[in-house]
Symmetry: C2
Subunit: 342 residues, 2 copies
């Protein structure tokens, strides 16, 4: 346990992704109740639309992985006080704000299987409620009073936005390199995982080596998380447990499976990707063909492998800490992120 295993091995052992999340869930369950209360409390406003829209997303059953990172990290380093609740809530607000803005930017219709907020309340309110939640996140951090945590999270806010703009600039560009793509997800996804984990140590005023270890853990876990996300969007049919959505394909989003399939493909195949992704001309059966091309080039398997490799870096980053329940829980989350099928 606690060791990163390949997909195949995990399946052989009959280990489920959910099983790897359990230790973390148990560790943080009490604190997560306090966080859920605080989040609902801070989404209150005299302006009715704000709590309505905020609750739509807050109640929609996200896993709350990021605040759980903060809580577990603070426990790992022996933090005894109560400010981790507010810091973790601020992390979730920051995440929620970026989701709201993302939905507007990506023109998404759905989020977590429900209608996206923007489809109910419109793009305008969605942008503004995102801004409101950002402001509330920083207010909570000010209440906590740690300038170091404020630095970590305001930096994350700027970096996430930078990553999103990078992604926008790379949109539909099928010749994006793997390195360029990694830079994008490092900013848009991994930065918040890194900040969430690092904050847990910063609040406890732990030495730099513990903070950087948790930061590195969070960053690499975040990259792995995003890569698995990318793979699952195409991998459904070939994976018994999952379901491909094809959203990325239909939106012409550049992700690693696509980058690999494009590079590994021949002239004809590149023409297919150019038509569907770059020019956005998608016909009946194109998604099935895309998934088939990816399989023929092992692009999905390679993406899972790359993710597993980042998972290993995350695992090793934690090794400076002595064995503990918290360390084990955080390392098992890596397995969860690699094996999850939704």
């Amino acid at each position: 346990m606690g060791v990163v295993v390949s997909l195949g091995e995990a399946r052989k052992n009959g280990q489920t992704a959910e099983g790897s999340l359990k230790p973390l869930l148990q560790l943080v369950s009490k604190d997560m109740e306090a966080i859920n209360r605080l989040i609902l409390d801070k989404a209150i406003s005299d302006v009715d639309m704000i709590p309505e829209l905020a609750h739509h997303l807050i109640d929609s059953g996200g896993k709350r992985l990021r605040p759980m990172m903060t809580i577990a990290a603070s426990k790992l380093v022996g933090y005894q006080d109560n400010d981790h609740i507010r810091v973790a809530s601020a992390v979730e607000f920051l995440h929620t704000a970026t989701l709201l803005h993302d939905d507007v930017v990506d023109e998404s219709n759905q989020r977590r299987g429900k209608q996206a907020a923007r489809m109910i309340w419109g793009n305008q309110a969605t942008v503004l409620v995102g801004d409101f939640l950002l402001g509330q996140a920083f207010l909570m951090l000010v209440e906590v009073g740690s300038l170091e945590v404020l630095r970590i999270l305001s930096n994350a806010a700027a970096v996430i936005a930078e990553g999103e703009v990078m992604q926008l600039a790379a949109a539909k560009n099928t010749s994006t390199t793997e390195d360029e793509y990694l830079a994008i997800i490092n900013s848009k996804t991994a930065a918040l995982f890194a900040a969430a984990a690092e904050s847990g140590a910063a609040i406890a005023e732990r030495p730099a080596e513990e903070r950087t270890a948790l930061k590195s853990y969070g960053k690499n876990l975040g990259i792995a998380f995003q890569l698995v996300d990318d793979a699952l969007d195409y991998a459904g049919d070939s994976e018994q447990l999952g379901k491909a959505t094809g959203d990325d394909f239909r939106e012409g989003k550049i992700t690693l499976p696509l980058i690999l399939a494009f590079r590994r493909g021949d002239e004809n195949e590149r023409a297919f990707w150019t038509r569907t992704i770059k020019e956005g001309k998608i016909e009946e059966g194109d998604f099935e063909k895309a998934a088939e091309l990816m399989r023929s080039h092992d692009a999905i398997e390679a993406t899972f492998e790359r993710a597993a490799s980042f998972g290993k870096v995350a695992h090793d980053a934690m090794e400076i800490f002595p064995q503990s329940e918290e360390k084990q829980a955080l390392q098992e989350v890596i397995t969860f992120c690699l094996q999850r099928r939704h």
Copy 2:
């Protein structure tokens, strides 16, 4: 000088709005150069689109009234250090971020006589660069290290967003009351003026009475500023110096001149406002008719009068401070805000 005078009086005296801004401009000119340098520096990013889009707005010749408030307030209370530069720059970034998001929310085509950023770079990048600037603003404040200033400005960020949502909820509702409208502009406009001025005293760690005096000054000045804005959007033809744009009318935006004309009007007139504002059915000549109805009910003059009344509150809020160059400059700005014609 330094006394709030009515529009008529000011005109008789041949006093120009620009003359009332001069003392403030002189007082802050050196610091504003430093702020301009810092702002350009902090808009730098490896992602090309970010500095391009940010500069479009930053260089577009806004008056920078808000950061000037911060600088003048800090000088007023005898602040000697250098952090006011970063705080004032953060205030301008916050303002710029809200302008970017506003343009997207209002679907504006123009801003300060130039194409709105969203017309060049699209709504998506505009939302995200706003987020980037917000993150950079908080990072600058973290560098300064005053939790009090961080509290003031993160609160302002949340309140501004709240005000914008309130405005959205009141959109096209011609029976919005004057009180409801004041609550909206108190949040969406006055909160940042208040925070900008209060920050100047907070950075100097001045006692509460000086901070609240500057906050009250900023708040009332901000309301006056917004009301004059509202009046100018309709008042052009009747005012030799200005030009009405009619933007608010065409967008169906509820502002005080409209609220007053609707309430003071008869059944026929209300039917006109319902058709044009609520239903958005605007025909040739409707704006001229709207402006004419407002004149017939003195709605523009009343809006200027209300603004002048808030200006007086702002003026008195400053009276606890002993006479000084700074105090006089800040009080004269009130006259500028009331008499400006653009």
